[in-house]
Structure formats: C-alpha cells, structure tokens
Symmetry: C2
Subunit: 137 residues, 2 copies
DNA sequence: TTCACTGCAAATCATTTGCAAGGCC
DNA sequence: GGCCTTGCAAATGATTTGCAGTGAA
C-alpha cells in the first residue's frame, strides 16, 4: 500500500482515486500548495478532476487531522501534508512558503500570561520577511 | 490632539476625518474588527463612508506599521490597533478573537534550527480552540 | 438499491480596480 | 491648477452550494 493510502487508512478516510492522488501530492510536495497548484498538476493524470473535489477532499483531510490548513497567505489557503510541529515562513519577495524547524518542541513551552480557561487545540506560528535568495537581490 | 490623530502623526500619515475615525475605532475596540464591523459602526456617524475607503485606509495604516493585519480568521481579514507583542486566540465556538499576552517577550526567544539567511520582519502566533465561555456549554 | 463520492454550473462574498467628483495645498 | 482622497459601480477571484450523474458495497 502506498504511503498516501496508508495515511488515509490511519485517519479513517475511505480511499478513492482522487483522494489518494491528492494525499500523494501533499506527501510528495513540500511547497504548501494551493488548490490551483494541486488541480493543475493532478488534472494532467486525472482529466476530469474538479476543483470542487479538491476543496471537498482537503476539508475532509483537515477535519480528520491528516493535513494542516495554512492561512499565512492573504489571498489563498495553503495546505501542508506535514503535520509535525514546525513554523512557516512566507517570503514577501517570491511568495514561497518555507518550513522552519523549531528546536525542542519550542511551541509547547511558550508561557502565556492568561490562558486559564482556554482550551487550545491548535498553534500556528507564521513568519514573514525575505528568503535568502530574495534578500540578495 | 486625540490619541488617534497622534498615532497618525507618529507614523507620518496625513489626517482626514475618515482616517482619524478609523484609527479611533481601532484604538477603542479590542475586538479585532473586520472591515464590515468598522463600516457598520462608523457609517452611522459618517454617512457617506465607503468600504473602499476603509480598505484603502487599513492598507495604508498596515503598510506604515501603525496597525496589525491578522489572518487568523479563514474568511475575512481582521485588524488590530495594538501593535505590541502578543498572540491571538480564535474561539471556534463563538468566533471571537482574544489577545493572549506572552511572558517576557517569548516570541523573540524561540530558537529555530534553520533561519540563517532569512530576514524575519514579522511574527504572528495564532492559537485556536474554545474560549472559557464556549468550553462550558 | 442505496448511499457516498464526484463534478459541472451557478451563486456567494470579500476584496480590488477603474474612474469621476470633491477637497486641500 | 494640480494632486491626494474619497466613494460609487463594476470586476475579480477564491470558495461554497445546488444538484444530477456515477460508482462501489
């Protein structure tokens, strides 16, 4: 069984050609794709694949916890197949989004003054600026 | 001079009735408003105030660094007149956004594994979950 | 047969753009 | 006069919705 199909099974999601292909794309690409990027590439292989299905599928995956939904880009939603803890960096020059690894689960150890009573289920750290390439131009 | 007018001056922004009113709203409301919320309230006082002007003005403020733009809500952009360092919490129950204070400038002290070469100009920490009120229901 | 999945077309809605009118130096 | 600001109306574009066809158990 492919890694993608395994991941679906792990999260109790029924497989289909479309679902496996979308999960496969997410696991093989580290570029935090938009719906358009996924559609553009996959529709070459699966000619009838519609954006509606991609929207539906990504929502299904995200609600199951199998992928992450990123709101770091102002214009469109990005998705990430890597659900391990890490931050994201958006370059304001080229628009690319980079993974930033944190030492020692740092996000867990942030101390807040006033979260008593709040139930935190999700933490996202977004950074913006210039990537090494754009910085030198 | 009002606090709002002072803030505009501080960031080199020419004042106008609309601009001062919008900044005033942001300084007096801690609810991280949307364009709609600002428009709804201010158009009672300034009857011709258009959403276009609010969009233009908020973009101007944000680019000058006088306010923060938040992408914590998936559907609409939120704005924050408080530019001091703090995190934001969005309650998935009521949809409200809360400020979360951090102890000791914690965001500055997060250690990344691989940011060499990156120029970081902005950091946003977004939390999601249930607020105390929604948790008990 | 049933029910979930898919995909087309239309609708929605936040945001942007084009442009003309008004106000301030 | 010239330029910046404002605001209406139209355009844009991502996402959602309605609904009918398809396919698998």
């Amino acid at each position: 069984m492919s890694k993608a199909a395994e991941r679906l099974k792990e999260y109790g999601i029924k497989p289909s050609v479309q679902r496996v292909a979308i999960m496969e794309y997410l696991l093989n690409h580290k570029n935090h794709p938009t719906v358009d990027m996924i559609h553009h590439e996959l529709s070459e292989r699966i000619e009838t694949l519609s954006k509606t299905t991609i929207y539906n599928t990504l929502k299904l995956f995200a609600e199951a916890g199998a992928i992450l939904t990123l709101n770091i880009d102002e214009n469109t939603t990005r998705y990430d197949g890597d659900t391990s803890q890490h931050a994201h960096f958006k370059c304001c020059g080229c628009g690319n989004i980079f993974d930033i690894r944190l030492k020692n689960e740092e996000l867990e150890s942030i101390n807040f003054e006033s979260t008593s009573g709040f139930e935190i289920t999700e933490k996202e750290l977004y950074l913006k600026g210039l990537c090494p390439e754009c910085k030198n131009q």
